[in-house]
Protein backbone atom coordinates (compact mmCIF):
# COMPACT_ATOMS: atom_id res chain seq x y z
CA UNK A 1 0.00 0.00 0.00
CA UNK A 2 1.18 3.51 -0.83
CA UNK A 3 1.97 5.43 2.35
CA UNK A 4 1.05 8.88 1.03
CA UNK A 5 -1.09 9.24 -2.06
CA UNK A 6 -2.24 12.29 -4.01
CA UNK A 7 -4.86 12.75 -6.68
CA UNK A 8 -4.76 13.82 -9.38
CA UNK A 9 -1.16 13.45 -10.53
CA UNK A 10 -1.64 16.02 -13.26
CA UNK A 11 -4.12 18.89 -13.34
CA UNK A 12 -4.49 21.30 -16.25
CA UNK A 13 -7.02 24.06 -15.87
CA UNK A 14 -7.80 27.60 -16.93
CA UNK A 15 -7.34 30.80 -15.01
CA UNK A 16 -10.22 31.64 -12.72
CA UNK A 17 -11.28 28.06 -12.10
CA UNK A 18 -11.53 26.42 -8.67
CA UNK A 19 -9.79 23.08 -8.13
CA UNK A 20 -8.94 20.63 -5.38
CA UNK A 21 -6.06 18.26 -4.78
CA UNK A 22 -6.55 15.32 -2.45
CA UNK A 23 -4.00 13.76 -0.12
CA UNK A 24 -4.31 10.63 1.99
CA UNK A 25 -1.85 8.92 4.32
CA UNK A 26 -2.14 5.48 5.90
CA UNK A 27 0.75 5.92 8.33
CA UNK A 28 -1.33 7.00 11.29
CA UNK A 29 0.58 10.26 11.69
CA UNK A 30 -1.01 13.25 13.36
CA UNK A 31 0.66 15.90 11.21
CA UNK A 32 0.48 16.59 7.50
CA UNK A 33 1.97 19.35 5.38
CA UNK A 34 1.35 20.87 1.96
CA UNK A 35 4.34 22.10 -0.04
CA UNK A 36 4.67 24.02 -3.29
CA UNK A 37 7.65 23.38 -5.55
CA UNK A 38 8.05 26.12 -8.11
CA UNK A 39 9.89 26.14 -11.42
CA UNK A 40 13.13 27.03 -9.67
CA UNK A 41 12.73 23.85 -7.59
CA UNK A 42 12.37 25.62 -4.25
CA UNK A 43 10.16 23.51 -2.01
CA UNK A 44 8.26 25.73 0.40
CA UNK A 45 5.76 24.69 3.05
CA UNK A 46 2.29 26.14 2.68
CA UNK A 47 0.22 24.57 5.44
CA UNK A 48 0.49 22.17 8.31
CA UNK A 49 -2.27 20.27 10.06
CA UNK A 50 -1.86 18.59 13.42
CA UNK A 51 -4.79 16.63 14.78
CA UNK A 52 -7.10 18.41 12.38
CA UNK A 53 -6.03 21.85 13.50
CA UNK A 54 -4.11 24.29 11.34
CA UNK A 55 -0.87 25.17 13.10
CA UNK A 56 1.14 26.73 10.30
CA UNK A 57 -0.34 29.15 7.83
CA UNK A 58 2.37 30.57 5.67
CA UNK A 59 2.11 33.75 3.63
CA UNK A 60 0.03 32.14 0.94
CA UNK A 61 -2.97 33.80 -0.69
CA UNK A 62 -6.30 33.10 0.95
CA UNK A 63 -7.39 31.54 -2.34
CA UNK A 64 -5.65 28.46 -0.98
CA UNK A 65 -7.39 26.60 1.80
CA UNK A 66 -6.57 23.25 3.39
CA UNK A 67 -9.39 20.97 4.42
CA UNK A 68 -8.95 17.96 6.69
CA UNK A 69 -12.04 15.75 7.00
CA UNK A 70 -10.10 13.34 9.21
CA UNK A 71 -6.57 12.62 10.41
CA UNK A 72 -5.70 10.62 7.30
CA UNK A 73 -6.67 13.29 4.79
CA UNK A 74 -5.50 16.80 4.03
CA UNK A 75 -6.97 18.26 0.86
CA UNK A 76 -5.95 21.50 -0.81
CA UNK A 77 -8.58 23.75 -2.35
CA UNK A 78 -7.59 26.55 -4.67
CA UNK A 79 -10.03 29.23 -5.78
CA UNK A 80 -9.71 31.62 -8.73
CA UNK A 81 -6.58 29.99 -10.09
CA UNK A 82 -3.84 32.23 -11.48
CA UNK A 83 -0.97 31.59 -13.85
CA UNK A 84 1.50 31.87 -10.97
CA UNK A 85 -0.13 28.95 -9.21
CA UNK A 86 1.40 26.60 -11.77
CA UNK A 87 3.76 24.35 -9.82
CA UNK A 88 4.09 20.90 -8.33
CA UNK A 89 2.26 20.48 -5.04
CA UNK A 90 3.37 17.86 -2.54
CA UNK A 91 1.71 16.71 0.60
CA UNK A 92 3.72 15.08 3.36
CA UNK A 93 2.90 13.05 6.42
CA UNK A 94 5.13 13.84 9.38
CA UNK A 95 6.52 11.92 12.33
CA UNK A 96 9.05 13.89 14.32
CA UNK A 97 11.83 15.04 12.00
CA UNK A 98 10.90 12.60 9.25
CA UNK A 99 8.56 13.59 6.45
CA UNK A 100 6.96 11.12 4.04
CA UNK A 101 6.09 12.83 0.78
CA UNK A 102 3.40 12.01 -1.70
CA UNK A 103 4.16 11.68 -5.43
CA UNK A 104 3.14 15.25 -6.17
CA UNK A 105 0.47 16.93 -8.30
CA UNK A 106 1.63 18.96 -11.25
CA UNK A 107 -0.76 21.87 -11.66
CA UNK A 108 -0.71 23.82 -14.90
CA UNK A 109 -2.83 26.94 -15.20
CA UNK A 110 -3.40 28.22 -18.73
Amino acid sequence: DTAVSQTPKYLVTQMGNDKSIKCEQNLGHDTMYWYKQDSKKFLKIMFSYNNKELIINETVPNRFSPKSPDKAHLNLHINSLELGDSAVYFCASVRGYEQYFGPGTRLTVT
Binding site: K41, L43, G96, Y97, Q99, F101, G102, P103
Partner: protein, 112 residues
Protein backbone atom coordinates in the same frame (compact mmCIF):
# COMPACT_ATOMS: atom_id res chain seq x y z
CA UNK B 1 14.83 29.93 10.18
CA UNK B 2 18.23 28.36 9.49
CA UNK B 3 19.15 29.16 5.91
CA UNK B 4 21.17 26.49 4.18
CA UNK B 5 23.72 26.69 1.39
CA UNK B 6 24.72 23.76 -0.79
CA UNK B 7 26.64 23.38 -4.06
CA UNK B 8 24.27 23.55 -7.00
CA UNK B 9 25.62 20.46 -8.70
CA UNK B 10 28.19 17.69 -8.44
CA UNK B 11 29.40 14.98 -10.79
CA UNK B 12 30.82 11.64 -9.74
CA UNK B 13 31.79 8.35 -11.35
CA UNK B 14 30.16 5.13 -10.34
CA UNK B 15 31.77 3.43 -7.39
CA UNK B 16 33.19 6.60 -5.89
CA UNK B 17 32.34 8.08 -2.52
CA UNK B 18 30.45 11.36 -2.74
CA UNK B 19 30.45 14.04 -0.05
CA UNK B 20 27.91 16.86 -0.19
CA UNK B 21 28.38 19.70 2.28
CA UNK B 22 25.66 21.98 3.58
CA UNK B 23 26.35 25.25 5.40
CA UNK B 24 23.94 26.43 8.08
CA UNK B 25 25.67 29.16 10.04
CA UNK B 26 22.66 30.28 12.07
CA UNK B 27 21.48 26.87 13.18
CA UNK B 28 19.53 26.97 16.44
CA UNK B 29 20.16 24.82 19.50
CA UNK B 30 17.07 22.70 18.99
CA UNK B 31 17.46 22.29 15.22
CA UNK B 32 18.17 18.93 13.69
CA UNK B 33 19.80 18.38 10.30
CA UNK B 34 17.91 16.20 7.86
CA UNK B 35 18.80 15.17 4.34
CA UNK B 36 16.35 14.24 1.62
CA UNK B 37 16.74 12.77 -1.84
CA UNK B 38 14.46 13.67 -4.74
CA UNK B 39 14.22 11.91 -8.07
CA UNK B 40 12.54 13.64 -11.04
CA UNK B 41 8.74 13.62 -10.83
CA UNK B 42 8.77 12.23 -7.29
CA UNK B 43 8.48 13.64 -3.81
CA UNK B 44 11.56 13.94 -1.59
CA UNK B 45 12.59 10.85 0.36
CA UNK B 46 14.15 10.90 3.81
CA UNK B 47 17.79 9.74 3.86
CA UNK B 48 19.31 10.53 7.23
CA UNK B 49 19.02 12.83 10.21
CA UNK B 50 21.44 13.96 12.90
CA UNK B 51 22.10 16.46 15.63
CA UNK B 52 25.86 16.26 16.18
CA UNK B 53 28.93 14.09 15.52
CA UNK B 54 28.36 11.20 13.15
CA UNK B 55 25.31 9.22 12.14
CA UNK B 56 25.34 6.21 9.82
CA UNK B 57 22.57 4.11 8.34
CA UNK B 58 22.34 1.61 5.51
CA UNK B 59 22.19 4.37 2.91
CA UNK B 60 24.55 7.14 4.00
CA UNK B 61 26.61 8.77 6.71
CA UNK B 62 26.17 12.24 8.11
CA UNK B 63 29.08 14.15 9.62
CA UNK B 64 28.41 17.16 11.82
CA UNK B 65 31.27 19.14 13.39
CA UNK B 66 31.15 20.38 16.97
CA UNK B 67 29.99 23.89 16.03
CA UNK B 68 27.16 22.40 13.91
CA UNK B 69 27.49 25.21 11.36
CA UNK B 70 27.81 22.72 8.54
CA UNK B 71 27.12 19.09 7.79
CA UNK B 72 28.35 16.61 5.19
CA UNK B 73 26.30 13.86 3.62
CA UNK B 74 28.49 10.97 2.53
CA UNK B 75 27.26 8.44 -0.02
CA UNK B 76 29.56 5.41 -0.29
CA UNK B 77 30.18 3.85 -3.71
CA UNK B 78 27.51 5.66 -5.67
CA UNK B 79 25.67 4.03 -8.55
CA UNK B 80 23.71 5.47 -11.47
CA UNK B 81 20.53 5.17 -9.42
CA UNK B 82 21.90 7.72 -6.94
CA UNK B 83 21.52 10.45 -9.56
CA UNK B 84 19.09 12.83 -7.88
CA UNK B 85 18.77 16.15 -6.08
CA UNK B 86 19.85 16.12 -2.43
CA UNK B 87 18.39 18.61 0.02
CA UNK B 88 19.66 19.64 3.41
CA UNK B 89 16.96 20.80 5.83
CA UNK B 90 17.58 22.37 9.21
CA UNK B 91 14.59 22.58 11.54
CA UNK B 92 13.35 21.40 14.93
CA UNK B 93 11.60 18.02 15.02
CA UNK B 94 7.85 17.83 14.79
CA UNK B 95 5.38 20.40 13.64
CA UNK B 96 5.79 23.99 14.68
CA UNK B 97 5.43 27.57 13.55
CA UNK B 98 8.54 27.50 11.43
CA UNK B 99 8.95 28.22 7.78
CA UNK B 100 10.17 24.98 6.33
CA UNK B 101 11.79 25.79 3.04
CA UNK B 102 14.06 23.41 1.25
CA UNK B 103 16.87 25.15 -0.60
CA UNK B 104 17.69 24.46 -4.22
CA UNK B 105 19.54 21.33 -3.24
CA UNK B 106 22.52 19.70 -4.90
CA UNK B 107 21.98 17.94 -8.19
CA UNK B 108 24.21 14.86 -8.18
CA UNK B 109 24.97 13.28 -11.53
CA UNK B 110 26.59 9.85 -11.45
CA UNK B 111 28.55 9.03 -14.57
CA UNK B 112 29.11 5.47 -15.79
Amino acid sequence: LAKTTQPISMDSYEGQEVNITCSHNNIATNDYITWYQQFPSQGPRFIIQGYKTKVTNEVASLFIPADRKSSTLSLPRVSLSDTAVYYCLVAPPGAGSYQLTFGKGTKLSVIP
